[in-house]
Subunit: 502 residues, 2 copies
């Protein structure tokens, strides 16, 4: 149980937490968009006001660099403000009004008014690798609050003090801005998280983490007497496909950028390129080694991630025929208090396509950390088929073409790639996810368990459901459905007499 300064948190049970979220839902679902938007902006402002303190805690707990953490904290503020924009705009409600029509083609039509509406309390399992942007006040929380759902965050054990402090600051800011008490709550133990997935008051869960834990929690959500949606982001290897021509034009830049994308934040990113597919005969060793040798040691986030990384790298290296291009270093520092820290540099290996196919999960499963595989494909290989067979579900797929190579054949290839990832990049690198309306961060399993995006404004859709009111008097309708439209939301009207295509 978390120990905050607030006395009401000290002896609460999981049931108390869920009940309080349920009570907060009553008020939160009725707050005007202006109030909710202002509260989100206030939450962003309080993070900005405490940036120095928060970044210092985060550095200590995660080993991520100050520059990275300041950037991530800014991103977290941008997310909150972007959602303030979304809630004030109201398009996300997808309001549809069908006017009553006594002459409708199928017989008299009643007055029907449909809006998307918050699902209820949302449970959000925070991630290890983004202590701000995918944690207590991160994207999932911002999306759920915007939708009108109270949020219970299960803190990640990798950054407990930061989680506690952010929860205090943001919960206070939301309440001061007029949102109900307990709109945002924090729990810290695994047992609490599991119990809450099964609690009747919790209506949806979001999760960013490992495939193993995600599948266990998803199974619990599905086995409830009343199953709830479980939006899990479970893993992605983000293959980058490079053509012969692209390499001829810019091999040097491309390989240096590859190493940088694998190494940033010690490869502890869900969009790290785990595979680079190049034509057989490509010379890449020197460029990869030269770039990798320049990468300084980086601390891994926590002992659990360090253990997992060591295990997966060992598994991959044990596959017969894997060739090491650049061996990374690993150094354990137990000079401080606690379990010590692991510092690493990136490891690159290479295999022919056939070997990758034979090796199976030992190479194909995600390695969370600065490790990547160069795959040499034979001339004429059908890259669409390779992706369908070996990389069926990803957050991203990237294709590097030569300057004048974009043509009909690639258009067909893109159509196929789009079946296996949520974001298709033409050039560039998948790390560095823009937080914008058009972002898609989610893809076929195991990238995500259920369709949806956890980055960008479309993320709100996961926490809404359709509700239609039939023949309701004005005074009983939710505000976005009233004739006078007090929230000023955009609405689509099917007018009396409109044939709708009939």
């Amino acid at each position: 149980m978390t120990a905050t300064a607030a006395p009401e948190h000290l002896d609460r049970t999981v049931d108390d937490v869920a009940r309080r979220a349920q009570e907060a839902f009553d008020g939160l679902s009725r707050t005007a968009p202006g109030v909710r938007a202002a509260a989100l902006r206030d939450a962003a402002a309080t993070l900005a006001d405490h940036a120095d303190e928060l970044v210092a805690i985060a550095q200590d707990e995660t080993g991520l660099s100050e520059a990275r953490l300041r950037g991530e904290l800014k991103r977290t503020q941008v997310q909150l403000r972007l959602f303030a924009h979304v809630v004030a705009d109201g398009t996300y409600l997808d309001v549809r009004l069908d006017e009553a029509d006594p002459d409708f083609v199928l017989g008299p039509r009643p007055d029907l008014r449909r809006t998307l509406w918050p699902v209820g309390p949302v449970l959000n399992f925070a991630a290890s690798n983004f202590p701000f942007a995918f944690s207590v006040a991160g994207g999932d929380t911002a999306a759920a609050l915007t939708a009108g759902c109270p949020v219970i965050v299960k803190a990640h054990p990798g950054h407990p003090r930061l989680s506690e402090r952010v929860a205090q600051l943001v919960a206070a800011a939301l309440q001061a801005a007029g949102l109900p008490e307990f709109t945002l709550q924090l729990v810290t133990s695994q047992d609490e998280g599991v119990a809450l997935v099964e609690h009747p008051a919790v209506r949806a869960a979001a999760f960013t983490g490992s495939q193993r834990v995600g599948q266990l929690l998803a199974a619990r959500a599905a086995a409830r007497p009343d199953p709830i949606p479980f939006f899990g982001e479970l893993g992605s290897v983000n293959p980058v496909l490079v053509t012969e021509q692209a390499l001829q034009e810019r091999a040097g830049d491309l390989l240096a950028a590859y190493v940088a994308s694998v190494s940033g934040s010690a490869g502890q990113l869900c969009t790290k390129p785990g595979f680079l597919l190049v034509p057989e005969g490509t010379e890449y060793d020197d460029a990869v080694v030269a770039a990798a040798a320049q990468v300084p040691e980086h601390r891994l986030l926590n002992p659990s991630i360090a253990d997992g990384y060591a295990r997966r790298v060992a598994e991959a290296l044990a596959v017969d025929g894997v060739r090491v291009v650049h061996p990374g270093s690993s150094r354990h520092d137990d000079s401080g208090a606690g379990p010590g820290q692991t510092w690493v540099t990136p490891t690159f290996v290479a295999v022919p396509l056939d070997l990758l196919r034979r090796a199976g999960d030992a190479l194909l499963d995600e390695v969370f950390g600065p490790f990547s595989v160069v795959v040499e494909y034979p001339e004429g290989a059908d890259l669409a088929a390779v992706v369908a067979e070996l990389f069926p579900g990803n957050l991203t797929l990237t294709l590097h073409l030569g300057e004048h190579e974009a043509a009909e054949a690639q258009a067909a290839l893109l159509t196929h790639l789009a079946r296996h990832a949520g974001r298709i990049l033409l050039g560039g690198w998948p790390t560095g996810v823009a937080v914008t309306p058009a972002m898609q961060h989610g893809g076929p399993w195991p990238a995500t368990t259920t369709d949806g995006t956890s980055v960008g404004t479309a993320a709100i859709g996961r926490f809404l459901r359709g509700v239609t009111f039939q023949d309701a008097p004005q005074e009983l309708l939710p505000p976005p459905l009233r004739d006078d439209n007090p929230w000023g939301v955009p609405r689509t009207v099917a007018a009396r007499g409109d044939s709708l295509g009939w």
Copy 2:
């Protein structure tokens, strides 16, 4: 295996069916909206052209009345034409364009273009009770085709000849209109249906039927190596809540309409009101008996449904304290060929609220057929709490108020009711679902397994997923994302320099 006239169907395997759907997907996802819209209208036209033949087969196979079946066939045509309108309009794609922005607040932003895109082949389990509107060319099929997904229909065994004939006619119409061969396919055996839920090429499933079968299939979909969404509509009891004042004003009309809503199509509708909640002391016996006595015998759809109905009614009547208001009749006619037909009139029973609570599933579970329970609630009962406890997940909830009773208290009640159903009616009866943009036919479990609606234009959302293209050259983008917008779809643009609330 289905035996159609087309020779290529004769010796196909489940894998052939899935593979053909996958191949059709290539072409179908690229068809221009105008082509898809025309094909949907042609499908509607061919149903109209063959109305006499189709209605005659349906009458024979289901026992539903000619008037009901002609109405349902017209509804099915309207659904197809309504979706032709949707695909031509293009709003459903939710296209979002973020212009590249070197000065974006979080650092240079790439060019991002997001559209919703068809998930791939969809498996649609047809329903017993709507041989047209929730079957081969019904709402789920229309929504999936509109999205650009090939459809494999698992025919319901209750109307095999009708399913076969509709599939022939509609598949031919779609192909003649320029859609790929095998855009619509039919399978008929249960084994094929189960095998297809687990086939890698199938990317989503829709189901309308019993809770038991739906849960089995949902578990299969979830247990795949790559779980797929399963949109099941599993059951609903559609409580109708009546206030003292409503009864004082119009008890006669209200009770007669209740009996009519329970009895129409022999109660074999997913929106049949299974419970009528009235204040203790209400006199309703005479009105219910008078109306019920006028209801003619109606054939139940098939022997399996007749068996289930008899079993559930017996279970309900066996509950100690249940009072029979109007005993229905049941007559088995085995004069014809085959297993015979069961003809019934409606049964109404009554219980005090406390007894309903104690009886549990024996009374609370859906009874599929013309059976309904009048529940007497004590003065001052908290109806929101009653719904939350006893009726947590429904397609519809209906509230009958007195003329001047709409007020603040009821607004709060409605907010609570909206958590437990997809459609909230103020007056009127839940049977008779309008097919329009603002309809919601889906609700909390077990009404539906996964949020979504299976009636109305929003139904298309179940068969789409978000895909974002980053920095793609014009010639490689899907048409709705190109600068020249060849499909003319509405798009939301985040312009360079737009702060998005920052």
